[in-house]
Amino acid sequence: MKLTLDKLAIGQQATIEQFTDLDLSLKLLEMGCTPGETITMLSHAPLGDPIAIKIDNYLLSLRKKEASTVLVNTI
């Protein structure tokens, strides 16, 4: 199922499909969030935003607005 990264449920896994914001994609790409990589949604901050994800072997936090520019395929 295709959806944006911010919509993943906690614990759900997905692979990165594509980006809709070029500037943001550059930042994510250099940190290893390349198309095809597996992402796990870890948690939401207590107030719902930002979110924490696991990618490769590290944890990344980003705001929901930023995550909404990443299209993913759920596994």
Partner: protein
Amino acid sequence: MTNTDFSSPHKKNAPLKVALLGNPNCGKSTLFNLLTGLNQQIGNFPGVTVDKRSGFFYLKDKSKVELLDLPGTYSLFPKSLDEELAVNILTDPANENYPNLTIVVADASNLKRSLFLCTQVIDLKIPVILALNMMDLAEKNGIAINTSILSAQLGIPVVELNARKGQGLEELKLALSKNSLASEISIVDIEQIENKAINDIARVLKVNCAFASFIVANNLHNISYFNHNKEKREEVKNILELNQFDARKLQALESIERYRQLSKIIGKIVSKKNAKPSRTYAIDKVLTHKYWGYLIFLAVLFAVFQTIFSFASYPMDLIDKGFGAIATLINNNLPNGVFKELLVNGILAGLSGVVIFVPQIAMLFAFISILEDSGYMARVSFIMDRLMQPFGLNGRSVIPLISGVACAVPAIMSARTISNYKERLITILVTPLMSCSARLPVYTLLVSILVPNNAYVWIFNKQALILMAFYIIGFIAALLFAVVFKWILKTKERSFFIMELPFYKAPRWKNVGLTILEKVKVFLFDAGKVIIAISIVLWVLSSYGPGKKFENLQKNHQQALLNINANTDSLETVFQSQKLENSYAGILGKTIEPAIKPIGFDWKIGIALITSFAAREVFVGTMATIYSVGNTENTTSIRQKMIEEKNPVTGANVYTTGVCISLMFFYAFSMQCMSTVAVVYRETKSWKWPVIQFVMMGVLAYLSSLLAFTIF
């Protein structure tokens, strides 16, 4: 393939220039501290606000190595001014910081991401040594790395390192002593992505390295190389336009291709075993928990606050007493005269005004570096970001703002942990609006005039209520101004929150110690200069006056002292009061009287406004001098004098409710603190922001005082 422009052969006998590069949280600072120890210094990079950390050490053969610590970055595609710096230096052989060799520190537990930066530097054709740090963590994660194959794949020396335990240093130094050359391997062939513009640019720049041309093309306006080759910048610009060079799109393609190549390499060198589940996830469950997360953060804040507010007062008292003792010593042993006055009331007063901050700075930074080193600071950012975002602030702004209640000076220095320039600047600009501890003596004095000590509203002490109201007013003002600045300030940097949450680890005490040392040094030498200079100016203003009148004052005083029946103490008190009134500060106070009359102040308060620019609490001392209260420690008598003070023309009370509240507002908002001005100058590296801040706070103070005086 060799190149002419982008390599800098190391000359014999000259120190080897080495740049240290790596991702944030890869252990780069720990390695830097380990290699250089106390042989490090903070300097400036021309034109940017980034601190230049450099140091030196020696190899076995006694040859010297100069080490430059470049800001942490994930790639050579800069997103912030900090990151631009590394690109700027690594692409300009004429830059004085251009290295002979680069050490890229890699986090072995995050190998692919670390190699992204490393292979970009390799592709620049600069000699690189890869320091593979955190091997133990990788092992725990079940990752085994074959470093010899990695070395062969990349064409560079690879050294295994455990910076936290100090292992692998000798091997690293050994690798440094061998004359390393640039790798002959290119990881990404950029020409397969773009080959028209890049080749033309390489020709203009006379370099044989396509990747270097690509990086230059991406950063045309930032690279210092063009500062001394202006016509080439135009030429390159034309080439880019002609070929419709889309830098961002090409960068994205390059990143994807590089990760594709890295995946191939990683497949050859990494074998995965069963990983132990990291404790980080369990810890995060608590520290970022809905309720526990905030409660724990509150407890941490309380500990920080308690330390800088209360515990710091013991060493601060000692410093105060120490300087007092030195002043007495000088007073008793040096002949009276201008020199002694300058020494005691100008220089020594300024010096103690600087040193007095050291305990607070040291304690705050002990906390901050522990929080940062352990990985907790990133979680603070994570749970607080949503709250701070509407105000244009960052989750990390919380610590500076709260510390500002104790003292704005260390608080502003701690804003350094905010990586986004705009959010950091806003934090610096609004932090002094928080009610700091220096306002407390002023508030206490004025509140005691305003209402009697035994006045209560229900069960609450009225004095305490008013005091608390002013703390809240300060906090609200800080948030409101943050919003204003959020709209006014423009930056070309986009605000990202994308941030790594590092795995938890125990803080390194050596790092903590060196951070404290570094912050104290920076404050003493950079901000200290400004503080002492202003302090001397203030001393001149308040102890000298123009014309005969001031001289006569001195003569009369000397004569009066000769009288056998004279009470020297009371004569001295009256003399000091007259002296201040007729000094330049006194005259200045009278000059500004028309301007401060609308907010209810007379020239006596005007003098106090001027002298308390040194520090807000000086207000109390100046009031004591003006009203000839001999013992400045005794606030009750100052209070009594101020309550009794009558307007000489109308005969009405001077310190009415309106004047007191107006004064409190003035001290709540105006930038009456030379140390803060100095530290803002130091942290923003320009006079622009302290001036803007000074004016902004001054206007706010005046208007709110005017409003308060009109209402009450």
